[in-house]
Symmetry: C2
């Protein structure tokens, strides 16, 4: 399974002409990495006297992060599995009118289906950004830079996954469905792009000297 590869093997197959992993799998990995950076802030907070008051909440957030990390790694494999039917559909013959109609129908179904994994990646990136925001606010100040790194990393996964939605809605016959998916995508990009930037800016402001 792709999600079980070593880092160098993953990077190498990503760079190759193999159809998977692609942007979706890379997004899911970065989402897991960014979530783990938030989780690390939690790990460095738990057990510290100074943060005893927020410890219960930090433990809850850590458990949510653990679950998200596991899910993002699974999504690397699900994204790869989801690409296969679409790839096969593109290869269907289209010589006769019947073949053309059949291919069109299959491509339409596959395009709707192929949006599901990137959409879940995006939705879970939004959850991760909410969690990282809380880690940045409540967690150990000594680790705040890791929360900032986590926020920009999950944001990049959010944006990378969105391209895999736009590429699949582009050719859809059902424009109402396409618009519904695109609107949902644009809203997440706007709302959570802004939220991630705010976390990063807050962290950078804490680290930079007042010169």
């Amino acid at each position: 399974m792709i999600s079980q590869k070593t880092l160098p093997d993953f990077v190498q197959v990503l760079a190759s002409k193999e159809p998977v992993p692609g942007g979706g799998g890379a997004a899911a990995l970065c989402a897991a990495v960014g979530t783990a950076l938030g989780n690390m802030v939690g790990s460095l907070t738990v057990g510290k006297k100074k943060y005893a008051e927020v410890e219960d909440r930090i433990i809850e957030l850590k458990a949510k992060s653990d679950a998200l990390q596991t899910r993002f790694l699974q999504l690397i494999d699900e994204d790869a599995a989801g690409f296969e039917p679409l790839s096969k559909a593109y290869g269907l013959p289209a010589n006769t009118d019947e073949e053309k109609a059949h291919k069109k129908l299959v491509l339409e179904e596959c395009s709707v289906e192929a949006c599901k994994v990137p959409m879940e990646i995006m939705e879970r990136c939004c959850e991760a950004i909410d969690i990282i925001e809380e880690f940045a606010e409540k967690g150990s100040v000594l680790a705040v830079s890791d929360a900032g790194c986590g926020a920009v990393t999950v944001k990049s996964a959010l944006f990378a996954a969105s391209l895999n939605i736009f590429i699949n809605t582009k050719g859809m016959e059902n424009r109402d469905k396409a618009k519904e998916l695109n609107d949902k995508t644009e809203k997440m990009l706007a709302d959570y792009g802004k939220k991630a930037d705010a976390i990063f800016d807050m962290v950078a402001a804490k680290l930079k000297p007042a010169e």
Copy 2:
């Protein structure tokens, strides 16, 4: 070595309270992943008749990407190795005036040293963004979304690494050196953040329907 771990093992140790990997190692991994996404565009372009005219240049860009990917993976380990002396310096005793002076001196040296890996990650992210821009312009249009994913992914690495510079320049006694490092960092964030956004926007515009 951290860079040889499997994806789940890397994510797990990142989330733990282990001092390394942290934001620097995560940035170097995302930089390798983003660079590989650009390289993938090249892999899907080479050998295609339609792109015969740019093939030599694409092969050159692929070789540069391969080298960058290897270097980014090495930087995961170098970032971890670079953290150790700083971590030890923080643990030095500071009871007498002599101990205090010694600790201050060692911390200053370690802080300058600890900027080197994140600075190299940033510089190489800028190289990677230039390469991805060319892949997006010259490579197969069928893979253009991967170039867009690559651009946002490397951009997140650039921004994540910058926090590891700001955190180390913050406490430096030598404010001229700190300013020099901060200014260089800010310039790369501004110039290459903008360039990565432009690549992403160009790709998104190609994929989105004109509604």
